[in-house]
Symmetry: C2
């Protein structure tokens, strides 16, 4: 077998060994039986769609972090109205994209959808030949639970995703620390597992003894007070912090075997969720001893307040190609100057899920020590 | 307030009281902030989409069970490229649909997606003014867990959705009966909760004392033996029964506090899943004492074998407007003629989720008695 035909492949459900007719394989983010998009061994990607009546069809990556360029990429119409394009090599990781049919961005029917950009969006998972830390390996797997609870702040039922570690059910007297982990703008409580593979990252860390078994609560980062509607231009997340502290934490402590105290409780998030995590932790330093900001610490972190909060762990990370990198690094430097103990983590990558997977994998082992 | 302005509204997360500027409200199946489709008090639906460059835009219901007709329905282009159409009254319940942009069926960006028709598809939830049995009421809610397990039959990791009833975590010594519950063709393990609202149906039945607390396992109804690929024209579910009996049931009995015996184990499903449930129960009468077929019992049920299996409960249901109704009814009559005790359930409705919600609500109270 030639080197270019060796390829790691996993599906959304886990590792799978797929024989490739040529050196390309269906993206693991495709639906069952979805042959396209296909990923070549050099990480070029071929998209294909059947749209005989369309005048123009394009592939449009969301954002500019996929490595293939900004796009849109014109697809070429072939026999029987099948359109194709092969891109330049793509950055490994997860990328949102759309197919643009006569100017209308829509989903690729061959792809799973992932909630991002405030809608269900096609996603392209590109395996990284050098990384397996987020693969579904042959280790014990925790469950990811959809948990419904009533919020007094919003006056509505809400849904959180809750990771319970392997062994949680088998040892009904053991209690666990909790990490509250937030998604980014336009995403949802589904993001950290579907796009981020947080459960597999933690399964692997726990199996290797690198992270303490923990509960991870992933909620929907939007919340308005009961009866209020978002103001023009507002995000609609204005009551989120209040909701977390008054409703979510008590609901989780009531429903799960948590260690319900400050030094066993962490909060972190990515992008918008990073800002939310830091703001909540700083407003309630008696509730959270550990805080993490993945690619979004830039705005409004007061180094003095961060010092006064006496966090056991204050973790700030950003990809070096992220437009938020300079702001994040400035925060790190301000913390240094103020003598506030913290961890600063930088590495290659932009504003993208592959970076946040790495952030979680670097952050989780430092928690609850 | 005029009668036509009174309207039940719930979101995917639960009941919500939305003030309506006119008598229409956003469909509860819309994404956060999605204003369209909007449902009028007479159950007409207005669809709206921004597609300035498109030459034609249509709404296409999937199947013919929505009550609004077969379609496609032409949308009219208005100012700034916004297309709209208002349909005739729609049948309450859940309906898949697409927007057709210049001949290409794609998702409505304002709608959540639901896995059906072998892809992620837009869905329209139309509240039924007369029914609340599948609403998220103010009762204790069970969790729905994503559970990963390894299948020897398929050689891969699989994901099941598992409903654990309210109180499951609080009472760690209690054990529960199990219902294995299958989706239809082209759907997935997500269908019974996302489209079917099975968890809320069971929460309500359990809270009212009408159903025994139970675990419900919803798996993905497709499975091929390791190394095999689907034959031309085959469904790709050929190893499902073998997988259920050899891998899934043992995995569930190991991971959850089940009552691991015949009289505490049921299997049911809808459409393709109905056929699967009956076939598995009949092939393994020592494993399952209860079997249910929702709108799909037509093919291949041998009344004599069904009698020999001595089920505690054999339940057959079908909507009277379903093209499978005659076949299901014939099975019922054959069972009667053969003197095989069973429950026959028919009522208005076609081959659609609203019927299957009713089937589950009628079936679950009869289980494990």
């Amino acid at each position: 077998m030639k080197p270019e035909r060796l390829f790691w492949v996993w599906t959304l459900a886990g590792l799978a060994c797929l024989p490739a007719a040529d050196s390309s394989v269906p993206a693991p983010s495709n639906v069952r039986g979805g042959e396209y998009p296909r990923i070549h061994s050099d990480l070029r990607v071929t998209f294909r769609v059947n749209a005989p009546a369309a005048q123009s069809v394009q592939v449009l990556p969301a954002g500019s972090d996929s490595g293939m360029g900004k796009g849109p990429f014109e697809m070429t119409k072939g026999a029987e109205g099948v359109w194709t394009v092969t891109t330049s090599p793509v950055r490994p990781g997860f990328h949102y994209y759309s197919l643009v049919i006569d100017g209308f961005p829509c989903n690729d029917p061959a792809s799973e959808t992932f909630f991002g950009w405030a809608k269900q969006t096609s996603g392209l998972e590109v395996p990284d030949p050098g990384l397996d830390f987020y693969d579904a390996k042959n280790v014990p797997h925790g469950d990811v639970r959809m948990h419904w609870y009533r919020s007094k702040v919003t006056g509505a039922l809400r849904r959180a995703f809750v990771y319970t570690p392997p062994g949680y059910d088998a040892k009904p007297k053991l209690r666990y620390p909790v990490l509250y982990l937030q998604h980014g703008s336009g995403e949802s409580e589904r993001g950290w597992t579907a796009q981020g593979r947080a459960n597999f990252i933690l399964d692997n860390l726990i199996a290797a003894g690198k992270a303490k078994p923990l509960i991870v609560v992933m909620d929907h980062g939007y919340a308005m007070r009961a009866g209020e509607t978002p103001k023009e231009g507002a995000r609609g997340n204005e009551a989120f912090g209040e909701m977390v502290v008054n409703d979510l934490v008590p609901a989780i402590d009531a429903a799960y075997r948590t260690l319900p105290r400050r030094n066993q409780r962490a909060i972190a998030g990515l992008s918008m969720g990073a800002g939310q995590a830091l703001a909540i932790a700083l407003a309630h330093p008696g509730k959270f001893a550990h805080a993490g900001a993945f690619s979004g610490a830039g705005r409004g972190l007061d180094a003095k307040a961060a010092g006064a909060a006496k966090f056991s762990l204050l973790w700030i990370g950003c990809g070096t190609e992220d437009r938020l990198h300079a702001g994040s690094k400035a925060i790190h430097e301000a913390l240094d100057q103020a003598g506030v103990k913290h961890v600063w983590f930088e590495g290659p990558g932009s504003h993208e899920w592959q970076v946040w997977r790495k952030h979680l994998a670097a952050f989780a082992p430092l928690l609850f020590r």
